[in-house]
Point group: C2
Chain length 198, copies 2
Amino acid sequence: MEYYSRQIGRLIEELSGLPGIGSKSAQRLAFHILHMPLEHVEKLSASIMEARKNVKYCQNCYTLTDEELCPICRNPSRNRKMIMVVEDTRDLAAYEKTQKYEGVYHVLHGAISPMLGIGPNDIRLKELMQRLQEEVEEVIIATNSSLEGETTAMYISKLIKPTGIKVSRIASGVPVGGDLEYIDEMTLLRALEGRVEL
Amino acid sequence: MEYYSRQIGRLIEELSGLPGIGSKSAQRLAFHILHMPLEHVEKLSASIMEARKNVKYCQNCYTLTDEELCPICRNPSRNRKMIMVVEDTRDLAAYEKTQKYEGVYHVLHGAISPMLGIGPNDIRLKELMQRLQEEVEEVIIATNSSLEGETTAMYISKLIKPTGIKVSRIASGVPVGGDLEYIDEMTLLRALEGRVEL
């Protein structure tokens, strides 16, 4: 990139290292940043550093946060007897957007994957089991509907069942508004297996 | 976004203010950054600030650069008698990638647009005319093939013609590898008008 001066070239290079940002988008972003008011760029740059420097795990649910406890675990109106287990913080955010779930979460930070050499000790499973020492009524397993997510769900349910705590799994099936024609066979089979009487 | 802690929420917000980055991509980027090694994040954040703080216009061709003269204007092997006029620095980069153009550039930073109230004095046109005081043999107008780009090309050619300097316009036509079926009518007409004898 000798046609860009050194610092502009480096900015484009750094940006194109981010996921989902190709070289064209990196150029577009870089020139957008170069044209932004200096104080906006200062804010952007500071947000990046601050968030990264202060990020830690919530002491209770292990989501990413910048305080000891995340906003959900600090909220006294959440039902602590219901724990939804998710693979990562973004999955938690996805369920929060529904505004219907009133329990708390547990973030595993991954899923069991023999293929990738990720075992039960590589995710926050021990921490989940510790939380079950307190009064918990139900654990809802909301890992992804992938091979790894399903393996993890099975593993966790086997681990929890002996404790007598209720374990459930979110339903698999046809997405709302989904056109059957465009849905993969595995999902269609799951939807059939999981059919409910009307 | 109360489900994200304050700093993470702010990072996502800042990122989603960038062009082409929706809320999903902003979340993905933010969590990628939160998982990056601290020193990489420091580099990213510093690149953004440095590039923005030091950005200026090349004293000769007005491209964005962080030095007095851009790498192209500093290069003694470029032909200074041939000036390609482009709308912005990214267009310059696009031509540089061909590795075939050996002249220099002039970056207008925009195009004449009566619709948007952008006139000849709002782009670096005066600066182009000043450069023509030196020994210049040809000005190649490579503004975009849009209404504004064409208007600007016409305007510049009328301005330069009295000086006796050769003025040319890059060809319009069917893109290489383009399937005629999918090309708009204006482009097809241009390709017809610009046909060359074989």
